[in-house]
């Protein structure tokens, strides 16, 4: 285990030196920050929904890009630079090396996801606390009359910025308000989805070039998000033949293959809780806050799937000839 952790930490150190990581992080923060201006173009209650949609989707997608763009090079670079020889000659198993790489990459992805989440939550808190009603109430309670050009007005915003950042950090440790209710659950489910995708990125990088690995991972992501459509396609085949029992020949084979495909591909849609974050069933009728239900089986499905893919990666890497 120590050997795995040593590789993992080394991978993390190596990954954080990757400039692409910072570009992606910066880009995501710009998107999240920009969403608050974008929401001003919207109307009514759709404004907060827009920020949540963009923020949560950015965290998920940028996390995916980090997993792919950083992950695909991890194994390949070791082989390309011949550093793999020094590693395999040490008392460390190949599977330990692969697991170390995976955990190191996952830590990198998760750290970035958490940073993005803090920014996202901070934006939500800042927007909430600096809404015109909130400002008016604050100064009314304090018995002050201020204009938008007075010092007190700016000072209020500066204070709100720091308080929002503090609350943003606290939110990833469990703190929440009405505006961030259950949002950490959505991020958590995205993290499990990223664990599966990262496992695939590692699997592909054990036998393919970085470009091919990226393509394969991206295709896996597409198939994973369209898993339900594969099931519907299988249903359509059966429906066209007036039921599964009437399927014969090529149609039957096609149906079975599609069905098998739907069974085997990762169902990434299960981890997409972004809809619940804005439309989830309310906890309390008088105070409608969307509820994000999560279940242990879905979490177990993600973790077990990732472990399964990693086992496959270990098998492939064990057979890999470095000559």
């Amino acid at each position: 285990m120590n050997k795995v952790l040593a590789v993992a930490l080394n991978t993390f150190r190596e990954a954080v030196r990757n400039k692409i990581l910072y570009f992606l992080l910066l880009f995501s923060m710009l998107i999240i920050g920009f969403s608050t201006f974008l929401s001003d173009l919207s109307i009514n209650e759709a404004q907060n929904k827009l920020i949540k949609d963009i923020g949560l989707s950015s965290i998920d997608f940028i996390g995916f890009l980090i997993a792919v763009l950083v992950g695909i090079n991890l194994i390949y670079n070791e082989i390309e630079r011949r550093t793999i020889y020094t590693i395999v000659s040490k008392p460390i198993d190949r599977p330990q090396f692969i697991w170390g790489k995976y955990i190191g990459l996952l830590i990198t992805v998760y750290v970035n996801v958490l940073i993005m989440s803090i920014v996202f939550f901070s934006v939500l808190y800042f927007r909430d606390s600096t809404a015109p009603d909130a400002i008016q109430k604050h100064f009314q309670d304090a018995g002050e009359t201020v204009t938008s050009s007075s010092f007190a007005y700016y000072w209020f915003h500066v204070k709100a910025l720091f308080i929002s950042a503090g609350k943003g950090i606290a939110t990833i440790f469990g703190y929440s308000e009405q505006i961030t209710h259950h949002l950490m659950r959505v991020v958590g489910m995205s993290m499990i989805s990223l664990a599966v995708i990262t496992a695939f990125a590692i699997l592909y990088s054990t036998f393919a070039t970085p470009t091919l690995s990226a393509v394969y991972t991206f295709l896996t992501f597409i198939i994973g998000t369209m898993c339900n459509d594969i099931v519907r396609y299988a249903d359509t085949i059966a429906k066209n033949a007036n039921g599964v029992e009437n399927l014969v020949g090529v149609a039957y084979l096609k149906y079975k293959l599609v069905w098998l495909g739907a069974l085997l591909v990762p169902n990434l849609e299960l981890f997409n809780k972004r809809r619940d974050a804005v439309y989830g069933m309310w906890d309390v009728m008088e105070n409608p806050i969307p509820n994000v239900p999560i279940d242990g089986v879905t979490i177990a499905y993600g973790i077990v799937y990732a472990i399964g893919v990693m086992c496959l990666a270990c098998l492939v890497f064990n057979r890999r000839n470095f000559k």
């Binding site: 759709a46 599977p95 099931v231 849609e269 499905y301 399964g308 270990c314």
Partner: protein
């Protein structure tokens, strides 16, 4: 390293175990997917189907919907609906709501843009109907349908249908049943409307929310009043048909019409209040406070005796609120063959101004005495306020009432009397009620 080493075998076993678990889990999920409705493909947006756009969004469909939403708002905001073909905007809303079926704002805003602004109410209502299907637990979308149907399309029956759906929504506000009941009453569906108001009133009583209680009772009594007036209106029409060119000299003349004589069903407000009060007391709660019912016809001892005799303690304790509502409603219905009793403390009177040129306020042939006095008071108050404004503006009192209204003053006095204006003091009075005190006082020559 040999491929069939013990370690590889362990990995192989773990791999198959993991895949076995995930496959079993996925099998359950696939069954769930098959049970849900298929996302229907149809023409939607710029030649691409919303279904295809949704698939292409790779799970980021909400962001796609947001972008389309912003585009639609900007597209509408830029030029409005009058200068453009409405169809592209309609299809944008249609596609948007296909991609994100739960976006409530898209239905209500879309209906406003396409219907109210664009003049295509039918297509606006198509969006509303789609929203009602996709958001069955929310009141807002059918409420918009009710609003458009009643106030834009003037289709009261359709409005009532939307209203009925809106009231059933989980998040329906407490004022909505009253609004729907208002539509019922306006449509002449008194049985339904009064029942709705009674439900709202009882809800206020059960939840001890004073504003619902007060408003609910006020609307309930008003609805009973309108019901009574509708019966008398019918009798008046019959009277006018039987006696062409004649008008009844007094309200009692209507009692001889078949409408009244042959018997009709109506709600007795006193009995209803007595029933509610009795049931409350049987439930060990406070009865209706004197303050709450002071403006309405107070139940008599006979009404309370009757209420005590028809309600049993066990029935009241065992029955749910909705059943009690039905029971109260049914027991309060009486069959009468004389003129209806007013639900207000004062009696119904014939409005002498009904046949006169109706340029002013009272147009109802029959009205409640208290309401007539209220009308007179509010008219006097309004005149005196205008005189006060005139004095402030011109620094003098008007010579006559024509001066303050810029045109010939023809507003009739509700009792058939005359308006008496004293241009020295600036006070307007009624010839029939010269001693009437106004709530906000009268202007004097020294004022202003």
């Amino acid at each position: 390293m040999k491929f069939l080493s013990w370690r590889n075998i362990v990995y192989l076993v773990v791999f198959f175990c993991c895949i076995g678990f995930t496959v079993t889990q996925q099998l359950k999920e696939m069954k769930k997917v098959s049970l849900t409705t298929v996302f229907f493909d149809k023409w939607a947006f710029s030649g691409r189907s919303a279904d295809m756009l949704k698939k292409m969004s790779l799970g980021y469909d909400l962001v796609l919907a947001d972008i389309l939403w912003l585009r639609t708002i900007q597209s509408f905001g830029g030029r409005g609906m009058s200068q453009r073909d409405w169809k592209p905007v309609y299809y944008q809303f249609d596609a948007l709501t296909d991609i994100d079926p739960s976006m409530e704002s898209a239905y209500s805003f879309g209906n406003m843009v396409i219907g109210d602004e664009g003049g295509h109410q039918k297509e606006g209502l198509d969006l509303i109907n789609k929203g009602m299907k996709n958001l069955p637990y929310r009141y807002r979308v059918p409420f918009e349908g009710m609003y458009v149907s009643n106030w834009t399309l003037n289709n009261r029956d359709q409005a009532r249908w939307y209203g009925r759906v809106a009231v059933k929504a989980l998040n329906a506000p407490d004022w909505l049943p009253r609004m729907v009941a208002y539509l019922d009453i306006e449509a002449g569906q008194y049985f339904v409307g009064v029942d709705q108001y009674l439900g709202n009133f009882l809800q206020g009583l059960a939840t001890e929310q004073d504003h619902i209680l007060t408003l609910g009772l006020s609307r309930l009594i008003d609805a009973i009043d309108k019901w009574n007036l509708s019966v008398m209106d019918k009798a008046l029409t019959e009277f006018e048909t039987a006696h062409p060119g004649m008008e009844p000299k007094q309200i009692e003349d209507l009692a001889q019409t078949d409408t009244i004589k042959s018997g009709y069903k109506i709600i007795d407000s006193r009995r209803m209040l007595a029933l509610v009060d009795t049931i409350q007391r049987r439930l060990k709660k406070d009865g209706l406070s004197a303050d709450l019912i002071k403006n309405y016809a107070i139940p008599t001892k006979a009404d309370f005796d009757w209420a005590n005799s028809v309600t049993t303690k066990s029935f009241v304790l065992k029955t749910r609120l909705t059943d009690l509502q039905n029971e109260i409603f049914n027991l309060s219905i009486i069959t009468k063959n004389d003129l209806p009793n007013s639900p207000y403390p004062s009696a119904y009177v014939w409005n002498p101004m009904f046949a006169k040129p109706r340029s002013g306020m009272p147009e109802q042939p029959i009205m409640n005495e208290a309401k007539r006095l209220e009308t007179l008071t509010s008219m006097l108050q309004s005149f005196n306020d205008e005189i006060k404004n005139f004095k402030t503006r011109e620094n003098r009192l008007p010579n006559n009432l024509d001066e303050i209204f810029d045109t010939k003053f023809v507003t009739p006095e509700p009792y058939g009397g005359e308006w008496l204006y004293d241009n020295k003091t600036g006070v307007v009075k009624s010839s029939t009620h010269s001693d009437l005190k106004l709530p906000e006082g009268e202007p004097t020559g020294e004022q202003g």
